[in-house]
C-alpha cells in the first residue's frame, strides 16, 4: 500500500516522464523531417525546381500590314522569327528567321522591304517582303526596338532602348550615319503623316528627384535636318508606348498610351485609381517641323473607368479616316475603341484649366470610348487595314491575333499562329506577370511597375502604408534575383514567394492575390529573367584598362596610402561576387534620412546595376557617381574618400560591366 504522498510523487514522476517523452518525440520528429528534406532535393530546393523541357513560344509583339492589306507580318519575340499571315485565309503562310529577340518592324514605303529590330543582337534585319529572304543585317545601337523609315525610304530611324538614342541609318549603304540622343529608354517611333517628323516615345521618365512627379519626354526629330527638333514634356506620366496620329481632318492629334502613377502618395487607397491610372497623351503637333516644344499642345485623358482600370496601355492605331482610335490595354486583355470626334469635341470645348484637370478625371472614358473589345492575353501591337475595315491585335501570351471588324466594332476571329499548346511553368508565370486581373479593379499587374520584362519604372514608391509617407523606397529591376533573398528593402521577406504572395496581395493588389500554385509559377518566371549581354562588357569578356583598374579598386583591401581597410570598408564584404554581388544582409551605409524608420537596408545585387538609375534605397542618387560623391560623406558605404576622380571613374566603369 502506498501513502498519499507517495501517490502524489508517483503521479508527478509520471507527468514529468510524459512531458519528457513528448519533448523527445517532438525533437525526433523534427529531426526526421529535416533529414527527409535534405535527402529530397525536390522538396528542399524550392527555388530550383527540376528543369522542364524548353518550350519555345511565339509571343507576337509587333505587327505590320502590307500596303495592299493582304499580308500581316508578325514579329515573334520568343521565336526569333517573323511570320506572314494571309489576311484573307487568316493562315500563316511564311516565316523568316531573324536575329535574337525581335521586337519591332517597319516597312519601306513601296512595301518591298521589311526591317526588323533584333533587340538582343543590337541589329536590324532587312527582309525581302515578297520572297521573305534575308537581305542583310545592319548594326545599330544598344537593344533596338521601334523603327520606321522616312517617306523616301532612304533613311531608317531605330530607337535603341538601352542606349537612350536613335540610330539614323542610310539604307543605301546600310550604315549608321549619326546617333541622336533621345530620352530615357526610347522604345517606339512613328513617322508623321506629312513625313516631316519622327516621333520617339520614351518608356521611362526623365531622371529627377524622387520626391517629384515624373516627367516623360516625347522626342521630335526633324527629318530634313535629321536632328532633334524638340523635346516635349509630358508631365506626370511614364511608359509612353506606341504612337498613333489622327489625320488632319480629325484634328491631327498624336495619341500615345501612358501610365500615370501616384507614387508620391502613401498607397492606402487603391480604388478609383488610387495607385495609378492609365490613359493617353493627346498631343496637337506644331504646324512646322522645326517647331519648338511650346508650339505643341499636350493634353492627358484617362481611359480608365471609375470602377475599373484598363492596365498597361501598349498599342495605338487609328483608322485611316480618323474616326476611330484603338488602344490596347495589355494588362487587361482589352482594346478600347475611342471615338476620335468625341475626343476632339471634349478637348476643344475644354478650357486650358479644364484640360489640366482631365488628367485626373475618371469620367472621360464614358464620353470618348465607344467600345471595349476583348482580346487574347496580353495584347500588344494593333494595326488597322488601309481601307479601315479591319484591325489586328497581337496577343503576346496566347500566340494569337485578334481580328476586329471595324464597321461593327466587334471581334470576328482569332488567328492561331501555331504556337505550342502546352503551357510551361514559366509561361504560366509570364502570363500572370502581365495580367492585371488579380489586382483590385484590375488596376495593375506586375509588369505595370516592372515593364519591359523586369525593368524598374525608376520611381520611388510610398508602399509602407502604416508609416504613411515614411520609408519611400525605390523600385528595383528583376534581373538575376534568384539566390539574392531576402527581399524587400528591409530584408524582411525571406523568399520571393512571400514577396509575391501575401505581401503583394495585401499591400499592392489589395485582393486575394495569387494562389499558391500561381505564386510558384510566377516565381519561376521571375527567376528566369536575366539582363542578357551587358553592352558595357566586351563580347569576349575582356575588361578594358579602366574596367580592370576599377576591378582592382572594388577588391582592394588597402587604401591609396597603404593602410589596411577593415572588412566593412571593403566592397566585397557586402557585395560578394559569389552571390550575385550581394551578401544578402542588411547594413547601415549612412543613407537613411529622416523619412526612414530603419537605417539598415537590404544590400542589393549589383548585376545589371547599369540598367537604369536611380540608386540607393530611396532613389536619391540619380547617377552611380552620386552614391559616393554626395551620399557617402562618412565613408560608411565603403571607404572611398581617398579616391581621386579618375579612380572613382574606373570603379564605376567596372560596376557597369556587372
Amino acid at each position: 500500500m502506498i501513502t498519499p504522498n507517495e501517490y502524489s510523487a508517483s503521479r508527478g514522476r509520471r507527468r514529468d516522464e510524459a512531458f519528457l517523452g513528448v519533448a523527445l518525440l517532438s525533437v525526433w520528429t523534427a529531426l526526421m523531417v529535416f533529414i527527409a528534406q535534405q535527402s529530397n532535393p525536390a522538396a528542399a530546393a524550392e527555388h530550383t525546381p527540376a528543369p522542364e523541357a524548353a518550350v519555345r513560344y511565339l509571343s507576337p509583339v509587333a505587327l505590320q500590314l502590307s500596303p495592299d492589306g493582304q499580308r500581316l507580318y508578325v514579329v515573334c519575340e520568343d521565336s526569333d522569327a517573323v511570320l506572314v499571315v494571309d489576311t484573307r485565309s487568316q493562315r500563316v503562310v511564311g516565316r523568316a528567321e531573324v536575329g535574337k529577340r525581335p521586337k519591332g518592324i517597319a516597312i519601306s514605303p513601296d512595301g518591298t522591304s521589311l526591317y526588323v529590330s533584333d533587340e538582343a543582337s543590337d541589329a536590324v534585319t532587312e527582309i525581302d517582303a515578297q520572297t521573305f529572304e534575308i537581305r542583310r543585317t545592319i548594326r545599330v545601337g544598344w537593344r533596338p526596338v521601334g523603327l520606321v523609315t522616312d517617306r523616301a525610304g532612304t533613311t531608317l530611324y531605330v530607337a535603341n532602348t538601352l542606349g537612350d538614342d536613335v540610330s539614323v541609318i542610310d539604307l543605301l549603304t546600310g550604315r549608321e550615319i549619326k546617333r541622336l540622343h533621345a530620352g530615357r529608354f526610347p522604345e517606339y517611333v512613328a513617322l508623321s503623316r506629312d513625313g516631316s517628323r519622327v516621333y520617339v516615345a520614351n518608356l521611362l521618365a526623365r531622371l529627377g528627384r524622387p520626391d517629384q512627379p515624373p516627367v516623360s519626354e516625347l522626342t521630335v526629330i526633324d527629318c530634313a535636318k535629321q536632328q532633334i527638333a524638340a523635346r516635349l514634356d509630358v508631365p506626370g506620366v511614364l511608359q509612353l508606348r506606341h504612337i498613333a496620329e489622327l489625320p488632319a481632318a480629325a484634328g491631327g492629334y498624336l495619341l500615345i498610351p501612358f501610365l500615370r502613377p501616384k507614387n508620391l502618395n502613401p498607397l492606402v487607397q487603391i480604388q478609383q485609381g488610387g495607385y495609378l491610372t492609365h490613359g493617353i497623351a493627346v498631343i496637337r503637333p506644331s504646324v512646322t517641323s522645326a517647331g519648338e516644344a511650346r508650339d505643341y499642345q499636350i493634353s492627358e485623358l484617362l481611359l480608365d473607368d471609375i470602377d475599373h482600370s484598363y492596365a498597361d496601355g501598349f498599342g495605338a492605331a487609328a483608322t485611316p479616316d480618323g474616326h476611330w482610335a484603338l488602344m490596347t490595354a495589355s494588362g487587361s486583355n482589352i482594346v478600347s475603341i475611342v471615338d476620335a470626334s468625341r475626343l476632339r469635341t471634349l478637348l476643344v470645348n475644354s478650357t486650358s484649366m479644364r484640360r489640366l484637370e482631365l488628367a485626373n478625371r475618371l469620367d472621360s472614358a464614358n464620353k470618348i470610348v465607344a467600345a471595349r473589345l476583348p482580346t487574347g492575353r496580353n495584347p500588344t501591337d494593333v494595326v488597322t487595314s488601309a481601307d479601315g475595315r479591319f484591325a489586328y491585335v497581337a496577343n503576346r501570351m496566347d500566340d494569337t491575333i485578334t481580328v476586329l471588324n471595324m464597321a461593327h466594332r466587334q471581334q470576328t476571329t482569332m488567328v492561331d499562329l501555331g504556337g505550342p499548346r502546352q503551357l510551361s511553368r514559366i509561361r504560366r508565370g509570364q502570363q500572370l506577370f502581365f495580367d492585371a486581373s488579380h489586382c483590385y479593379q484590375g488596376q495593375m499587374a506586375c509588369a505595370t511597375c516592372h515593364p519591359h520584362e523586369g525593368l524598374s519604372d525608376g520611381l520611388a514608391w510610398s508602399l509602407e502604408t502604416p508609416q504613411l509617407g515614411r520609408d519611400v523606397v525605390e523600385n528595383r529591376t528583376l534581373y538575376s534575383i534568384e539566390g539574392t533573398e531576402p527581399y524587400k528593402w528591409n530584408g524582411k521577406n525571406p523568399d520571393l514567394e512571400t514577396q509575391d504572395g501575401p505581401r503583394t496581395a495585401m499591400y499592392i493588389f489589395r485582393s486575394q492575390g495569387f494562389s499558391s500554385s500561381e505564386v510558384d509559377d510566377l516565381v519561376g518566371y521571375i527567376f528566369s529573367l536575366h539582363l542578357g549581354r551587358n553592352p558595357h562588357l566586351a563580347a569576349d569578356g575582356q575588361l578594358t584598362a579602366a574596367q580592370t583598374r576599377g576591378q582592382v579598386l572594388f577588391f582592394r583591401d588597402k587604401t591609396n596610402s597603404g593602410a589596411p581597410l577593415s572588412p566593412l570598408q571593403q566592397c566585397p564584404t557586402c557585395h560578394s561576387p559569389l552571390t550575385h554581388f550581394t551578401s544578402k544582409i542588411q547594413i547601415d551605409v549612412g543613407t537613411a534620412t529622416k523619412h526612414d524608420t530603419i537605417t539598415a537596408f537590404d544590400v542589393p545585387q549589383l548585376e545589371g546595376a547599369v540598367m537604369k538609375p536611380p540608386y540607393l534605397h530611396n532613389g536619391e542618387a540619380l547617377e552611380l557617381e552620386e552614391i559616393w560623391t554626395r551620399f557617402n560623406p562618412e565613408d560608411k558605404h565603403g571607404l572611398t574618400s581617398d579616391m581621386n576622380k579618375a579612380q572613382l571613374n574606373d570603379l564605376i566603369e567596372y560596376l557597369k560591366t556587372l
Binding site: 538614342d165 536632328q227 532633334i228 524638340a230 540619380l622 560623391t629 579618375a646
Partner: protein, 377 residues
C-alpha cells in the same frame, strides 16, 4: 691703271651684275613688295551686339558659328543669334549648368550644342539642357574651359585635366597628371586634328594626344621658367598657353600664350612677339588659324598674320571716337594706318570664329560681327 687691271675690274663688275640679276627673282620672292592697296580686304564694317541691343552685359568669352546660327558664351549666359539678331539668352534659370560660358562646340552630325561653363558641362539638344557635373558624372572638374567634338567623342578641358566622353556609350575617360604629362592640371583649350588632339595647358605648354597610338607628346618652353627668349624660334615661346589651334591646310598648330605667339609646323617653330612683329600684345587670349592666316585675340586688339606675306593687320577701337583703327605692319617693317567708321565693341579680344568670310569677335564688352566687303575693282 693698266689695261689688264681695268679689264679685270670690268670682268668682276660684270660678273657681279650678272650674279645680282640672277639672284634678283629670289630676292624679290623673299621680300615681296608690300601691297599698299589692302583696304578692300579689311574688315571696315562692324555690327556690335551689346547690352544696348539685347546682349548680356560683360565679357564674351567665346563664339561659335553653326551655319546661320551664332552661339556666344558670356559672363552672363549663353546667347543664340540668328539672322543677325539676338534670338535667345539662356541662363541657369533655363537649365544652363553655370552662368559663365567659356566654350561652345556644335556636333555637326546631330546638331547638339555642348557648352562648357564654370558650373559644369551642358548639353543643349532639342530645346532642352542636360547637365554634367563633377558630382554626377565622370567630368573631371566643373570649371570647364574648352570643349571640342571629334566624331562621336567629346573632349573637355577642365581645371583638373581633360575628359573624353564617348557620346554613344556614355563612357568617360580622364587624362591628368596620373596618366599624361600634365605638369599643370589646368587645361584651357582644345583643337582637334585628324589623328591628334592638341591641348592648351596653362603653365604646362601644349600637349598632343595621338589617337591611334594613344600616346602623349608635350611641347614646352625650353627656357623653362626663366622667361628668357635666348634663341628666337627655339621652341614654344611660353608654357602659359591660353589656347591652341590646328590648321589642317598648313599642318601647323598655333599656340597663344600670355607671352607671345607660337606656331609649329612639325619641323620648325615660328614665334612672334610685339617687339619684332605687328602683334598687338604678347598677352593673347586665343588664337585661330585658317588658310594662310592666323588670328590672335589679344588684350590690345585683334591681330591677323598673313603667313604668305608676313603682314600683320591689327584691329582695335578708339574708345574716344568709337572709330576703328587698323594698323598694318608690312614685312619690311613699314606701317600703314586705316581708319574705319565702325569698330569692334572693344579692343580687349577674347576669341573669334568665322562665318564664311565674315568674322565674329568676342570682346570684353560685347560681340562684334565683322562683315567682309567685296574687293573693289
Amino acid at each position: 691703271m693698266n689695261v689688264k687691271t681695268i679689264t679685270s675690274v670690268l670682268r668682276g663688275a660684270l660678273l657681279s651684275v650678272g650674279l645680282s640679276l640672277a639672284a634678283l627673282p629670289c630676292v624679290l620672292a623673299q621680300a615681296p613688295v608690300p601691297n599698299r592697296d589692302v583696304q578692300a580686304t579689311l574688315y571696315t564694317k562692324w555690327i556690335n551686339y551689346t547690352a544696348t541691343n539685347g546682349f548680356p552685359e560683360g565679357e564674351v568669352y567665346c563664339v561659335t558659328v553653326d551655319g546661320s546660327r551664332v552661339w556666344a558664351g558670356t559672363s552672363h549666359g549663353l546667347v543664340l543669334l540668328e539672322d543677325g539678331r539676338v534670338k535667345k539668352v539662356f541662363s541657369t534659370d533655363d537649365g544652363l549648368a553655370g552662368r559663365a560660358v567659356m566654350s561652345i562646340a556644335v556636333d555637326k552630325q546631330n546638331g547638339d550644342v555642348w557648352v562648357g561653363t564654370f558650373g559644369g558641362l551642358s548639353l543643349y539638344s532639342g530645346g532642352a539642357f542636360k547637365n554634367y557635373t563633377n558630382l554626377t558624372s565622370g567630368l573631371a572638374n566643373d570649371l570647364v574651359y574648352g570643349v571640342a567634338m571629334q566624331g562621336q567623342f567629346l573632349w573637355v578641358a577642365t581645371a583638373a585635366g581633360v575628359n573624353r566622353l564617348d557620346t554613344n556609350t556614355g563612357t568617360w575617360s580622364i587624362f591628368n597628371e596620373t596618366n599624361a604629362p600634365f605638369n599643370e592640371p589646368w587645361a584651357y583649350g582644345i583643337s582637334v586634328a585628324q589623328q591628334k588632339v592638341y591641348f592648351a595647358v596653362w603653365g604646362g605648354g601644349v600637349l598632343a594626344y595621338d589617337l591611334a597610338k594613344e600616346t602623349w607628346k608635350p611641347f614646352t618652353d625650353p627656357d623653362g621658367e626663366q622667361e628668357l627668349v635666348l634663341y628666337r624660334n627655339q621652341g614654344l615661346i611660353h608654357n602659359i598657353v591660353s589656347s591652341v589651334s590646328y590648321n589642317p591646310d598648313t599642318k601647323t598648330f598655333w599656340a597663344s600664350t600670355y607671352f607671345g605667339l607660337s606656331g609649329y609646323d612639325g619641323r620648325n617653330w615660328h614665334n612672334y612677339l610685339t617687339k619684332d612683329s605687328g602683334l598687338a600684345s604678347n598677352f593673347i587670349n586665343a588664337v585661330r588659324s585658317r588658310g594662310d592666316n592666323v588670328w590672335a585675340s589679344t588684350q590690345s586688339g585683334l591681330s591677323q598674320l598673313d603667313t604668305r606675306t608676313n603682314t600683320w593687320t591689327t584691329y582695335s577701337r578708339d574708345q574716344k571716337t568709337g572709330r576703328g583703327e587698323i594698323l598694318i605692319t608690312h614685312a619690311d617693317g613699314s606701317k600703314q594706318r586705316v581708319v574705319s567708321e565702325t569698330a569692334m565693341a572693344h579692343s580687349y579680344i577674347l576669341n573669334t570664329d568665322f562665318q564664311g568670310d565674315d568674322i565674329w569677335v568676342a570682346t570684353a564688352q560685347g560681340l562684334s560681327h565683322g562683315i567682309h566687303a567685296q574687293p573693289k575693282e
